[in-house]
Symmetry: C2
Subunit: 225 residues, 2 copies
């Protein structure tokens, strides 16, 4: 069981590369997507395609209605997604999202007897979300090892693996391409349409486009305008 | 906003008393129940009754399908609820349950601008679940203050309040009665029937019954046999 991992898979570029890295490190990968009521539903379809293409042994999608608590442009349709750079932490921040997703991943990892949880957070070319920082990940890892029967009884020691944390977006893209990731399967846009086509204007589109440019490789993203 | 609190409300005896304590401390209480696929659905009905009776300003139920990951007698109908005392952490332990519930409460607390999250965990007369211990709560509180925009920007400092942590079940019952809690509204049993009647044999029933006995007060629990 020690080579099992749960990989959080959003359907975007970062988590696809994370899954490819986990596979390369020899893990049997159980991919987990969280349907938290995000407006960019196309990313959940993308996650299923990516899980299959990159050899995850299974892919599950857990539903949690974070829209029921609101507070973000990604879960509340009455708040518009900004299309210009923002100062500070933007309104696309979803309260406690990574805490909720890691908590779900932890529960599944314990059931699977899997000591590793992979998450594609990045603290270089990112939107400034607090729950993407190494200090948050370290604090959650401590929670994981105190919260669970497996850790307390000593049968598992959980590690939250963040292989992208120090990479630029361009480095992530090159790493993914080296590992055979087909980025045309992925969706990053916060307001992608039902076909997975991107707006080209939101923060996530901007980071992705700049990343392909900096990496010097063609951008396979499909735009709807 | 500083007197707002999110109170996790299961529908059982402990969380009802916790809500009453939060109200007594002057908090405007937003009650949160989590429908995680537990077999004792009657507790969710009980939570709604308790929220109303104890003056919560609103009550929301978030659905998260932890049954999709299994691993517990409470979420997997193929695993029986034990009816005799268990050695070690029992099979009614739900992997990462309190981490998931606190994560959801944290998200809502941030949206509400509420600095306090109340949870009725107890480390005296309890079933030995690791995520009921003070060391876990302290670790989660640290996560809360690193994960969120409000904490990082300095507009909120989250505190996880656990007013029952050091009380015996009898002390909890007496405290609740002092505050006017009607325990006949609450459901503790892990396999309560649709009418909220209790089995009288599971660990949760045993702790509750022993608590009423030790407190020297009548037990209003309805049993189905």
């Amino acid at each position: 069981m020690m080579n099992r991992a749960v990989v959080l898979l959003s359907g975007g570029l970062d988590s696809a590369t994370t899954l490819a890295i986990a596979r390369e490190q020899g893990y049997t990968c159980h991919a987990l997507s969280v349907d938290y009521g995000q407006r960019h539903r196309a990313e959940l379809d993308a996650a299923a395609r990516v899980a299959k293409a990159l050899g995850a042994v299974e892919h599950r999608t857990l539903r949690i209605d974070l829209g029921g608590i609101g507070g973000s442009a990604l879960t509340d349709s009455s708040i518009a997604v900004p299309e210009s750079p923002q100062i500070g932490i933007p309104i696309t921040y979803v309260p406690a999202r990574n805490t909720v997703m890691l908590a779900c991943a932890l529960g599944w990892a314990e059931v699977l007897n899997a000591p590793r949880i992979f998450i594609g957070v990045n603290a270089v070319d990112y939107s400034g979300y607090p729950d993407c920082r190494p200090v948050f990940i370290a604090a959650f890892e401590r929670v994981a090892n105190l919260a669970t029967k497996a850790a307390v009884e000593g049968t598992l020691k959980f590690e939250i693996a963040t292989p992208l944390i120090d990479l630029t977006k361009a480095q992530i893209i090159r790493r993914g391409l080296d590992l055979g990731v087909d980025f045309s399967l992925t969706v990053s846009c916060y307001q992608a349409d039902a076909q997975g086509r991107a707006c080209g204007r939101c923060d996530s589109c901007r980071l992705r486009r700049d990343g392909f440019k900096a990496a010097g490789v063609p951008d396979a993203t499909r735009y709807f305008q």
